[in-house]
């Protein structure tokens, strides 16, 4: 496996408040770019004080539309999260897996990703 890349939502958003879907999209683009480039990614939530499902859906849930569960499990890690935030992320991930079980959604997400579009 390639050496891991550390991605900081705090640095990308520029704030401890990681709450907006648009900000989550910026984080997603960094993570997806690294995974596509064959890197392993460690997302460090150090200095992040607030998270929402909207942010995490865009930043991480969305990855399940572009990458397989196996790829994500093998190459994506998180750290520096409080227990409550880990629980929220787990809910987001479980919801994303369920969401992309619908093959139509998965296909459309893949097409959008290929076009570099957000919707």
């Amino acid at each position: 496996m390639e050496k891991g890349l550390i991605i900081s939502p705090y640095e990308i958003v520029g704030s401890p408040l990681c709450v907006a879907s648009d900000d989550g999209q910026k984080v997603f683009e960094r993570i997806a770019g690294a995974l596509k480039g064959g890197k392993s990614v460690m997302v460090s939530f150090r200095n992040v004080s607030s998270l929402t499902s909207a942010f995490l859906n865009a930043a991480i849930g969305q990855l399940y539309g572009s990458f397989s569960q196996e790829e994500i499990r093998a190459r994506l890690k998180v750290k520096d999260m409080a227990q409550a935030d880990l629980a929220l992320l787990k809910r987001v991930v479980d919801t994303a897996k369920e969401y992309f079980k619908d093959p139509d959604r998965f296909r459309k997400a893949e097409q959008a990703a290929l076009r570099g579009q957000n919707a």
Partner: protein
């Protein structure tokens, strides 16, 4: 053609606006009587309003903003002194030509309008007007975190689902003696009923559409970003906190209290969606989880 300033004023009466179903009923009735007005000079007669729950300024402001967007001049007249004081302290009346009043006890979270792209501005507003306010009574760190994240979820929900171009309105009020914090967010978007219909082909009455949207795993979200958690997380928090949550969208009313939900149809539609919460500020729950989630078990 007369401009709104030159037209003779038409008067519309409002009754008490409390933080409950009857309060929303007052507002949707007002909107029903205002919504056809164009290029008019409209006076909202407040003489019969003896009580106005301050957080309800968010949906009230949304109704008036929508009305103003139809090139009407809107003014509020004949306010009773106690109502004028409340609506001046939270800055609401400043939007209608009056001077703001000093909030001596620091119990208001001011009325504010945001554009949908103002997520960060909204976050700063919550931090500055609620979280960092030293005059508000102490709440547990866990409660503050959950409250803060809950209102962000409400705002994000409005941004993602409403397609509102006229903005998002918020307002709150703290009641120290009752250990209660009321907070409302209103948008002027397409509403939950239309969202559910357009994205799922379910053609539900407005109140049933809200119940559908708040049920586990249901979402109107389409496209590459999953969704459908925001309102459920909020409902879970409100149940744990023993607070109350209300949603009004189109003509639908939905409330959640003590783990039980209630739905009803209002007599007329609201021109968007309102989510409001009533937080029990005496809640000493730590909001710590009962079981540990490991970083290695997430994906």
């Amino acid at each position: 053609m007369n401009t709104p300033d030159q037209s003779p004023a038409k008067s519309y009466a409002l009754s008490d606006v409390r933080h409950d179903q009857a309060g929303f009923e007052s507002l949707v009735r007002l909107y029903a009587s205002l919504k056809a007005a164009r290029f008019a000079n409209l006076e909202i007669d407040m003489s019969r309003v003896g009580w106005f729950d301050a957080d309800m300024c968010a949906p009230f402001g949304a109704v008036l903003y929508r009305t103003g967007s139809h090139v009407n001049k809107v003014s509020l007249v004949h306010l009773q002194p106690q109502v004028e004081t409340i609506l001046s302290k939270n800055g609401f009346l400043s939007h209608y030509g009056r001077m703001p009043a000093r909030d001596k006890y620091g119990t208001t979270i001011p009325y504010q309008r945001f554009d949908a792209k103002d997520d960060r501005f909204f976050a700063s507003y919550v931090e500055a007007k609620f979280v960092q306010r030293t005059e508000l009574p102490r709440m547990s760190a866990g409660l503050v975190k959950r409250f803060r994240e809950s209102v962000f979820e409400i705002f994000s929900n409005a941004v993602i689902h409403s397609q509102s171009t006229l903005g998002i309105f918020s307002c709150g009020q703290f009641f120290p003696k009752r250990n209660r914090l009321d907070f409302s967010v209103a948008d002027l978007g397409i509403g939950i009923r239309r969202n559910v219909k357009e994205h799922t082909s379910l053609d539900l009455p407005a109140h049933e559409a809200i119940a559908w949207a708040t049920s586990e795993r249901n979402t109107t979200k389409r496209g590459p970003i999953p969704g459908g958690l925001g309102l459920k997380l909020l409902a879970e928090f409100i149940t744990l906190n023993r607070g109350r949550m209300q949603i009004v969208s189109d003509a639908g009313y939905w409330s959640l209290e003590n783990g039980h939900s209630h739905t009803a149809l209002l007599s007329a539609p609201f021109p968007g969606t309102v989510v409001n919460v009533e937080i029990n500020t005496a809640d000493r729950r730590s909001y710590a989880l009962t079981s540990e989630v490991k970083e290695t078990d997430i994906f």
